[in-house]
């Protein structure tokens, strides 16, 4: 539809060009219409037996049918349907009817009657199923037609008593998709001799089939009910009991659907009270259903277990004591019957009736206990998660871990309790599960404080050989709270061990210690002398500044010192020196400190430390002001305007460095302004005043400027995220200007009209596509280049190239600067290559002609869809370059807007005599067709209609380097013979 609308709007705007284009396909359509249905008719008449007819129908089904001819085709099909005796052909016709009613632009209400009448005469069950399916399609196509809906529902009710399960299933689906609450139904059921057709509503009718003999029908009934719920109907609470009974059905699909049903009801009526069978107690419905679904976690079928485990995670209203039971396998209390027995049962347990299997002989028989008080299968939620986390299938375990996460986030006390279990999961046999549980623990870590023993088990995982696990754990440690100084010491010790074992984790470990320090300044304080190995009387030797472990300790201490002013007093002299050094070299890890008797090292520091939200606002204001100032640039004389732009660009760049929050915006504006500056410079070249033959040489700078502007615009468009269509329009506008400039320049240099005509047409197409894409933005582009161009459009499209160039030249020079309006959030995509570091002097040696794998580790920020856009480029010293597309699995997502690329790059080369440096950098690939692809792809759907839409403008693809390149020494050696 969107494509249609667009096309129509387009038509209105550019009548001159487009009308001939439009008429051609329309004519074709009209021509093909009668032929299609006629051909079918002929084919079907020709068919002598059912196999032939089936073949024709199958062929026919492969081609699309236009909306106008659908009705004709339907008539022919129906006509044939009545004549046909073979079931399979009728079945195919019925399915075709359904397919045809889905055709866009065809309203199927005209065939409802026909289908229903065929339905009434049909004997074959299979065909009935298909016809009902067709009705279902029709019904969903006509959501706003109550009459049709009512009729369909009646049909469905009538056939509900069919003996074939398929028919019943379809009827239930129909009811589910179309049934309404407001219209009560008369259940048409004379067969059973119902006294009077009682007035019942859809839900009642559907729920009758919860007890159907066929499990498939039972499933369909529950699904229909869920469908009703999805359509916004309120399910009655009476169904709850039935749904609960279905939880113990013999068939897994029924149980699985029933779990969903029970869940839906628990969300609808969480607070209503249900009685407990075999006692006179009552509990909340949500608790009851929680207990029942928990029970399903130990179901026989793993599909049901997954379903149940997932569902548990979303039942947040459940009472805390029920929630906590899910982690308690041992608690055998029959809490639901005697709430007071809760404590007693627990005592019984702890008194040693059950052995835990952890100590030898602790299950030796003891004195007789009152066995009545203990239930082995407690009817409640006992141990659901314990089971789920121990399940054989890792799907269930992951579902359980996720559910734990959701529940723990909403309940701090539960979070505390599930900690041990999550920590246990760190030891799972499947890495995915381990990773997931670490992530979960991180997410709930705001609620919890790790005890020493817990921390101990968490830290044990630091030795894991999987990098993902270790980094996830570092991430977790960044967010955890610990309780004692021993914990800090323990964590530091383990992290240093980790650093020792896996030196590549350096950055991650440092970062982790940074957060650990800034979170627990008071716990670090008593450790400082020990950590820095200072002594009250003796001078200790100065530690090696290049030791990563020492840096790690310093990072911890300095970050703690930031909010602990008494700490610097404990530092020795060299510590201060090291501080200065680290503050400079690792400024992202070491915070500015207010050290006694020392000046702040940089002006930068004061900005940072004095910071807070006020400075951000101020910076923002400054950014706005500079942009506003620039908007007046038109009124200035050429040199002044250029100076102003120059200064503003410089200001903005500096601002970006100072305020990381605004870096994206400042950068974006600066780049934009640079484009404008280049444009301005290009236009003020002297060459414009020269005669054409003279300026052949001089325009080199202008051409370069035009090309550079083009490049910059691509950067602007694809490197920044958070752009709105307004900004995109502005960028495209600049690009259009650059293209115009290029055109003018070509016109001035080249001889001969042929190439010029081509490029003129291309330019006009660009203008048109601009207009099409940014129709809504046009009002904002007042007084701009494009606006002027569009005014002149009728003239342009008819005039000669030379004239066009002239017009362009004047328009370019007259049009002013378009003011940039910044969106809320704007981020520049950045990439940092962590590894290879490029520091190594040892060349990577390998036999030439063979490949060598280079480990690449990079973080990407604010990159959308990195799997498709990020590429690795290798530049060899001889100028060769390779672009490598990393595998999608190599990208990980450690946080929002953040990606991590850990991959291996394969390089190879012929032999060199000396080790040489290869440059590695990351590229961001883009293709400009992506924005306009929506219209073209939807057209492509009409495959064999050969309507000639103007071909989509050639997609411009390119790459933007967006990381610093890293140099790696490599040394391909000649192969030994």
């Amino acid at each position: 539809m969107a494509a249609h609308l667009k096309k129509r709007v387009y038509e209105e705007f550019s009548k001159v060009v487009q009308i001939p284009h439009e008429e051609v396909p329309a004519k074709k359509l009209r021509l093909s219409k009668p032929s299609k249905s006629a051909a079918l008719h002929v084919d079907l008449c020709k068919a002598t037996n059912s196999t032939d007819a089936l073949q024709y129908l199958l062929q026919f089904a492969r081609k699309p049918v236009e909306a106008e001819s659908v009705e004709g085709v339907v008539r022919i099909l129906l006509e044939h349907y009545y004549k046909e005796t073979d079931n399979s052909v009728r079945l195919k016709i019925a399915s075709l009817l359904g397919l045809l009613s889905k055709t866009q632009g065809f309203s199927p209400d005209c065939i409802v009657d026909d289908v229903i009448s065929t339905l009434n005469n049909e004997k074959s069950h299979q065909v009935l199923v298909q016809l009902l399916d067709t009705l279902l399609v029709i019904g969903t196509q006509l959501p706003e037609n109550p009459a049709v809906r009512q009729r369909l529902i009646e049909v469905a009710c009538k056939h509900l008593s069919d003996t074939y399960f398929g028919v019943r299933i379809k009827c239930l689906q129909l009811l589910g998709c179309l049934g309404t609450v407001d219209a009560p139904l008369t259940k048409d059921n004379e067969g059973q001799g119902m006294s009077t057709g009682g007035v019942r509503d859809v839900q009642n009718v559907i729920s009758d089939y919860f007890g159907d003999q066929d499990p498939r029908v039972r499933t369909a009934a529950i699904k229909a009910m869920l469908q009703l719920h999805e359509r916004g109907m309120k399910i009655h609470q009476i169904i709850y009991d039935q749904a609960c009974r279905l939880l113990s059905d013999d068939y897994e699909q029924v149980r699985s659907a029933a779990v969903q049903m029970v869940w839906v009801l628990s969300q609808l009526y969480p607070e209503s009270i249900v009685p407990i069978p075999s006692s006179n107690e009552e509990i909340r419905l949500v608790d009851d259903s929680f207990g029942k679904i928990s029970h399903m976690v130990s179901d026989g079928s793993w599909m049901v277990r997954v379903q149940a485990a997932k569902t548990l995670g979303s039942m947040l209203q459940v009472s805390p004591h029920f929630l906590e039971q899910t982690l308690d396998k041992k608690l055998m209390s029959d809490l639901r019957r005697k709430r007071t027995a809760h404590e007693r049962a627990k005592e019984l347990y702890t008194s040693g009736e059950f052995s835990s299997g952890r100590k030898w002989a602790d299950d030796a028989p003891k004195e007789k206990v009152d066995t009545n008080a203990v239930n082995l299968i407690a009817s409640g939620a006992c141990g659901a998660f314990v089971h789920g986390l121990e399940d054989e299938m890792y799907e269930v375990r992951i579902a359980a871990v996720e559910a734990l996460c959701l529940l723990a986030r909403s309940s701090p006390s539960f979070a505390e309790k599930c900690l041990d279990f999550l920590v246990d999961m760190f030891n799972d046999e499947i890495e995915e599960v381990r990773l997931q549980s670490i992530h979960v623990l991180r997410e709930i870590s705001t609620h919890i404080t790790l005890r020493e023993d817990q921390l101990d088990t968490v830290l044990a995982v630091l030795e894991d050989s999987s990098r993902d696990i270790r980094e996830a754990l570092h991430e977790l440690l960044c967010y955890t709270n610990v309780s004692t100084k021993e914990c800090i010491q323990l964590a530091l010790l383990e992290l240093l061990k980790n650093l020792n074992k896996y030196p590549t984790d350096r950055n991650s470990v440092w970062k982790c210690l940074k957060f650990l320090g800034s979170r627990h300044p008071t716990l670090v304080l008593p450790l400082v002398p020990e950590l820095l190995s200072t002594h009250p009387y003796f001078d200790t030797p100065e530690p090696d500044m290049d030791d990563p472990a020492y840096i790690a300790v310093l990072v911890l201490v300095f970050n703690a010192a930031k909010s602990c002013p008494t700490m610097p007093a404990l530092f020795s002299d060299h510590t201060f020196r090291h501080y200065a050094y680290l503050r400079d070299s690792l400024s992202h890890l070491v915070p500015p400190l207010r050290l006694p008797g020392r000046k702040p090292l940089y002006g930068l520091d004061s900005v940072d430390s004095g910071g807070g939200s006020g400075s951000v606002e101020a910076a923002h204001l400054f950014l706005q002001q500079s942009l506003n100032r620039v908007s007046t640039v038109q009124n200035l004389e050429a040199p002044g305007a250029q100076d102003l732009l120059d200064f503003t660009i410089r200001d903005l760049q500096r601002l970006g460095q100072l305020q990381p929050e605004l870096a994206g915006a400042a950068d974006f504006s600066a780049t934009y302004l640079r484009c404008q500056l280049l444009l301005m410079k290009a236009l003020q070249e002297k060459l414009w005043n020269m005669a054409v033959p003279l300026c052949l040489k001089q325009n080199a700078t202008a051409t370069a400027a035009a090309r550079q502007i083009l490049e910059e615009t691509y950067k602007l468009e694809f490197l920044y995220s958070g752009l709105e269509s307004r900004q995109v329009a502005t960028i495209h506008h600049v690009r259009l200007q650059a293209k115009a400039l290029q055109l003018v320049l070509t016109a001035r240099t080249r001889r001969g009209l042929e190439p010029l005509i081509g490029s003129c047409e291309k330019f006009l197409q660009d203008v048109e596509s601009f207009q099409r894409l940014f129709l809504t933005e046009l009002p904002h582009l007042q007084d701009s280049f494009v606006e002027k161009l569009l005014e002149l459009m009728p003239r342009l499209s008819s005039c000669k190239p030379a004239e066009l160039v002239k017009i362009l030249q004047t328009t370019l020079r007259q049009s002013g600067l378009l003011q940039l309006r910044l969106p809320e959030q704007i981020h520049r995509a950045t990439a940092t290559i962590i590894e290879p570091t490029g520091e190594s002097d040892n060349p990577l040696r390998f036999t030439s002609g063979l490949v060598v794998a280079l480990d690449l580790d990079a973080t990407l920020e604010h990159v959308q869809d990195p799997q498709n856009t990020v590429k690795v480029q290798l530049l060899y010293p001889d100028g060769q370059s390779h672009v490598i597309q990393p595998r999608p699995g190599d990208f990980r997502k450690p946080g929002p807007h953040r990606h991590r690329l850990i991959t291996q790059v394969y390089l190879s080369h012929t032999a060199w005599t000396e080790p040489c440096q290869v440059e590695v950098r990351l590229l961001l690939a883009y293709s400009s067709s992506s924005s306009s692809s929506s219209s073209s792809s939807s057209k492509a759907g009409w495959s064999d209609s050969t309507d000639s839409l103007p071909p989509p403008e050639a997609a411009i693809e390119g790459t933007i380097p967006f990381s610093k390149s890293v140099k790696v020494f490599i040394m391909p050696k000649p192969a030994r013979r």
Partner: protein
Amino acid sequence: MPEIKVTPLGAGQDVGRSCILVSIGGKNIMLDCGMHMGYNDDRRFPDFSYITQNGRLTEFLDCVIISHFHLDHCGALPYMSEMVGYDGPIYMTHPTKAICPILLEDFRKITVDKKGETNFFTSQMIKDCMKKVIPLNLHQTVQVDDELEIKAYYAGHVLGAAMVHIKVGSESVVYTGDYNMTPDRHLGAAWIDKCRPDILISESTYATTIRDSKRCRERDFLKKVHETIERGGKVLIPVFALGRAQELCILLETFWERMNLKAPIYFSTGLTEKANHYYKLFITWTNQKIRKTFVQRNMFEFKHIKAFDRSYADNPGPMVVFATPGMLHAGQSLQIFKKWAGNEKNMVIMPGYCVQGTIGHKILNGQRKLEMEGRATLDVKLQVEYMSFSAHADAKGIMQLIRMAEPRNMLLVHGEAAKMEFLKGKIEQEFNINCYMPANGETETVTTNPSVPVDISLNLLKREMALGGPLPDTKKPRTMHGTLIMKENSLRLVSPEQALKELGLNEHQLRFTCRVQLQDPHSDSDTLHRIYTHLKSVLKGYTIQHLPDSTVMVESIVIKLSSSAEDPNTKVLLLSWSYQDEDLGSFLSTLLKKGLPSGLC
């Protein structure tokens, strides 16, 4: 009433020499045929003389089913089949069939070659016995004979362990063997469908235990091993060759892999290598992780675990050694233990149950000075840890299995009587089913209530459906008329007409007639009309006709009127109805006996 009889010959209120006799539907089945670890005399094997005093067992048993390869479940098999005499089929799963002879041979060697017993089965006997074995696949229904069928389900526990579902007609028994409801590092959890057997015979080794989560135990285990290794100590893990040993190996192997540890792990050789070979082969019997990853790497091809040599025990530096046997009562594990016991840096981890009297049992109970043979004493300085890695279902697991299978009766074997008693109470209370726990030699009889299948003729069914709507409605039971024909062991329900036709009989009509005297002063025709209107008002919804030949028909009941000769006011009504209309007929007669209401016109 049909009965199922269950008699444990071993494992009744006891652990060891599992052997249970089941008589079901006229078939006799022996479930497991094990030996007892604790005895060296005749009590070692089940008492087969219970079945027959003399002669072979073949004619008394229809089949023998072995659940898994542990000796307490299969140790007496060659004795029974070759020495007592049994030629019928023996069923076991493929892995059991592969591993069982290895263990039997090992057992034989120890008993005959080491202890010098005579009158024991020979290698040839083991071979002959294994020839009688028919392998089973999981979920495959095997027809033992025309009536008896068996089906195996996955049981966890050890490689190839199976639960069996035995079915004769509609009666069925499930025997669990040993099973495990929580998956471990190399095997999955037991699973059974809702087969609703008449009796579920379950093991109950851990009837009173509810174990901690498996992960806790694994973590503890790994942590202890890791810590000992880190401080340079040696770890001894006494195991039995098969089962837990593989689990622990995988656990340590993956941990070593994950943590990049370098300390060596040794496995004392012997039958283990052969057995490991089978573990590699029967990948389908293992758990999800191993099954899914074996294409890249078979988990049983250990990278870090190497074969142990006697001389390695004196090597310096940390190491982990798995050594047999598991209870430290003899063999290599005991030798190594003696060497390492003196150093407090070392550790011994007992991963399972220890029988009283073994050194394992002693040190677990805290004894620090052991008396060795030759009056020597041994100071135990090393750390002693107990980790239950036993792969039996705990109380909760047993309950879970009951919930899965939904049996009508429950029978506990393979456990201690006191613990069983407790679980029995629980089961009866929770599921409301009978639970039995017979001792060895005691017979438990369970009467069943089998459903009898009857073929119904299609015509009759269709006719019934046409009458009362198509779908059976549980809320409204319906009655139908038909004739039950019992002929040659088959039951059929057909329509009466067809039955008559098949039997070659003529149909006889049975009619009841009855005279009712009525006082009515009107003329005959008037009276009849009055009756007609009366009935019409009373019996709504019935077809009532006033026929011209001065009769009234109510459905098929004929009412005739004749006035008596003496008194014209006394009318005699003749009612006649067929047997099928008995209800309506008797209702009419009582109605008419009351007379006509006076207000009738």
